[in-house]
């Protein structure tokens, strides 16, 4: 009766074979992979270069102005400015700049890929049927699983970090772009068609503007998920605040870990508030009015 209590392992998967296949691919596609990794590294580098060449008071002022605009409130503008300056005050400014450039590069790429995919699957049930399971997989797959191939293919460093972050963070912008476009009032779409809009006109003059609040929610979530990857990515060689946290953990330096961790949180909160208010701050108001008007 023993066999009932130990599941027969009839299907023996040779994980070593997969490893060597990936390795073989890494070797044979070396040229392409190097180009990609070089490009991504370059992107992160140039964003970092740009940020480094802005004087810090200007950056702080920028945060004050942007969050003031987004929140429509001077006090929160100043509050976020002070919090931002705090990161510099505790000596983590340069690391924060590095982290920010990796996150911004990842979000940029996630949007460049995610927005068109979202638009594509909003318009085609077939494409939707193919992409959806992939998105589900990407969302449920433990992050570490694709850290390894990223590492294998692109090596330690920023390029791997960007790729892992993009894979992890791209899902919301795709989903919410598609959702937003699908949710546009059917009659409004019909009206646009009835007046002789081409597909492009329908998309750019009606569907995207109407879906914009939802799409922007997706962008915001993508940004937040990219921030959530900061520490994880330090394991494949991304420098910055994440690396600081990782080192603190490895050396069991609680204080150092807390300070760096807090900086990550502050950066995330500032980015979140700034993007949220900016795009959808006045939306609920007009949506409410829209609904009230309709009931009338």
């Amino acid at each position: 009766m023993d066999w009932l209590f130990s599941f027969p392992n009839v299907l023996k998967i040779d994980t070593n074979a997969i490893d060597s296949a990936v390795r073989a691919f890494a070797v044979s596609a070396e040229g392409v992979l190097d180009a990609i990794s070089g490009g991504l590294g370059g992107l992160v580098g140039s964003i970092g270069w740009l940020l480094k060449h802005i004087p810090w008071p200007v950056l702080v002022l920028l945060v004050v102005l942007l969050s003031w605009q987004a929140r429509k409130n001077v006090r929160s503008g100043i509050l976020y400015g002070i919090l931002f300056a705090l990161i510099g005050a505790i000596g983590l400014w340069d690391m924060m700049i590095v982290t920010l450039s990796i996150v911004l590069a990842s979000v940029l790429i996630a949007l460049l890929i995610g927005l068109p995919i979202g638009i594509l699957i909003s318009g085609s049930d077939r494409a939707n049927g193919i992409v959806r399971p992939i998105l589900d997989t990407m969302q449920t797959m433990p992050v570490f699983v694709y850290l390894i191939p990223a590492l294998l293919l692109f090596g330690m460093g920023n390029a791997s970090a960007v790729i892992a972050t993009v894979i992890y963070a791209i899902v919301p912008v795709i989903r919410l772009t598609s959702l937003g476009i699908r949710q546009v009032d059917k009659e409004v779409v019909e009206a646009a068609k009835a007046f002789g809009s081409t597909r492009g006109q329908l998309l750019f003059k009606v569907q995207i503007p109407q879906a914009l609040p939802t799409i922007m929610t997706g962008v915001n979530q993508t940004l937040m998920m990219a921030m959530a990857m900061v520490v994880t990515c330090s394991m494949i060689g991304a420098r910055g605040l994440g690396m600081e946290v990782l080192e603190a953990v490895n050396r069991i330096q609680i204080g150092r870990g807390l300070v760096a961790g807090a900086s990550v949180v502050i950066l995330a909160v500032i980015l979140d508030r700034m993007t949220q208010g900016w795009f959808s701050g006045d939306e609920p108001e007009s949506t409410k009015r829209e609904k009230a008007g309709r009931a009338r």
Binding site: E187, V188, A192, F195, K205, Q210, S286, G293
Partner: protein, 411 residues
């Protein structure tokens, strides 16, 4: 063109089926099954079945029917938002199905436009931006002119031109001064005015309106109906108007088509439809209408069973009245022109005293003409002692309207 004021859109044997098993469904319908039976058995919805219509140019053509009878499906076939499963829709004798992409866009941009039940306005654009939408997509129609004009002066000129035009149509629907308001801030009636302005801005030949006033409250609705009538009479557009309100249909429609379960049951003028409903379904529909506002005296008058010439003697008049069991009779001359009314008492008095009819006839008779609405003679009919005479302009007697016939017409 020869048939300039004839049919603008012709619908020939159009059917539209949704769902599975369509070939099987067609077979069942051809064998005489009903829409419900087909749906129960096959799960296939027959939204339209063998519809034939001729839409006259420059008129308001109303399509009416209960919910689910296929009205929206039909109206969306006119601008090919829907494609018929079978049959043809012809615009000025050209088959819509034969249009390629460009031709279809041109058709929608220039010939036909649409007004929607919940307005279909774009909330990210202001009133002016909505009204100008049709012109905008037309201007920027080809990618080349779009790119070429993107930064140039041409773009600005075109923009100003179409905003000018949009302002004109907004003024026509009474929205001057509201151009830069957000649509969300407008009341329902005003939003639908924007919808109508948007549809008129392209100067189309046909205006499709799918229950445009159903979402409005009754008072606003009456105003909008009135304004639509005014606009239509002024611009002479062909209007295809969908409603499920028979009063609205009869008020607006030059012609009314009544639909049931995807089929057209009757197409007629409101008067004819009220007077001669094709079947019980139509009768039930028209029965709920306020008929006195549709029917004219001409529709309900009856032929008098007896007439007396003024040259006749009183003895003949008395005999006529006895024979037909009447207490009064109308008196006419040789051209059938109405001379007055003669009561039995007066006739007997004339006979006793040897007088002619001419001397005793009552000449102050209530008269009306055949094209007067029943509603308008109702008070008079209720008061009148005698039936009301219906006369043509030249004074010839056409018929009479009794209290009883007025009441009967309302049921």
């Amino acid at each position: 063109m020869e048939d300039r004021n004839d049919t603008i859109i012709r619908v020939e044997h159009v059917s539209k089926l949704y769902g599975p098993n369509r070939t099987e469904a067609v077979r069942m319908m051809e064998a005489g099954a009903t829409k419900d039976e087909v749906y129960q058995k096959l799960g296939c919805t027959v939204a339209l079945w063998d519809v034939n219509l001729e839409i006259p140019r420059g008129k308001i053509f109303v399509i009416i029917g209960l919910s689910g009878s296929g009205k929206s499906t039909m109206v969306r076939c006119f601008n090919r938002l829907n494609r018929p499963s079978a049959g043809r829709v012809l615009f000025e004798e050209a088959d819509l199905a034969a249009m390629d992409k460009t031709a279809l866009l041109e058709f929608r941009r220039n010939k036909i436009s649409m007004v929607f039940q919940s307005f279909g306005l774009m909330s990210h654009r202001d009133v002016l931006g909505n009204a100008a939408y049709g012109l905008e997509v037309k201007n920027e129609g080809s990618m080349r002119s779009y790119l070429g004009g993107m930064f140039g002066k041409k773009k600005r000129v075109e923009r100003e031109k179409r905003e000018q035009k949009a302002k004109e149509v907004l003024a026509m629907v009474g929205l001057s001064g509201w151009e830069h308001q957000s649509c969300a801030q407008l009341s329902g009636g005003m939003r639908q005015r924007v919808g109508i302005a948007r549809a008129l801005a392209n100067d189309p030949e046909v205006l499709l309106m799918d229950e445009p006033f159903s979402a409005l409250d009754p008072l606003v609705r009456r105003d909008m109906q009135f304004e639509l009538l005014q606009i239509q009479r002024k611009l002479q557009k062909t209007v295809i108007f969908i409603t499920h309100d028979i009063d609205e249909a009869f008020k607006l429609g030059d012609m009314v088509a009544i639909m049931r379960d995807g089929k057209v049951v009757q197409v007629d003028t409101p008067e004819e439809m009220s007077a001669n409903p094709a079947d019980d379904y139509v009768r039930e529909f028209t029965g709920s209408a306020d008929k006195s506002k549709v029917l004219t005296v001409g529709n309900i008058m009856i032929t008098p069973s007896s007439l007396v010439r003024i040259t006749e003697g009183p003895a003949y008049a008395i005999k006529e009245m006895r024979k037909n069991a009447l207490s009064t009779v109308y008196v006419v001359d040789h051209q059938l022109r109405l001379k007055g009314i003669l009561t039995i008492q007066d006739a007997i008095r004339a006979w006793n005293e040897g007088l002619t009819i001419e001397t005793v006839v009552k000449t102050e008779v209530q008269t009306t003409t055949p094209d007067v609405l029943v509603a308008d003679i109702m008070p008079a009919a209720a008061e009148a002692m005698y039936p009301i005479a219906v006369v043509e302009d030249d004074g010839r007697l056409q018929g009479i309207v009794t209290k009883a016939s007025v009441l009967a017409s309302l049921i």
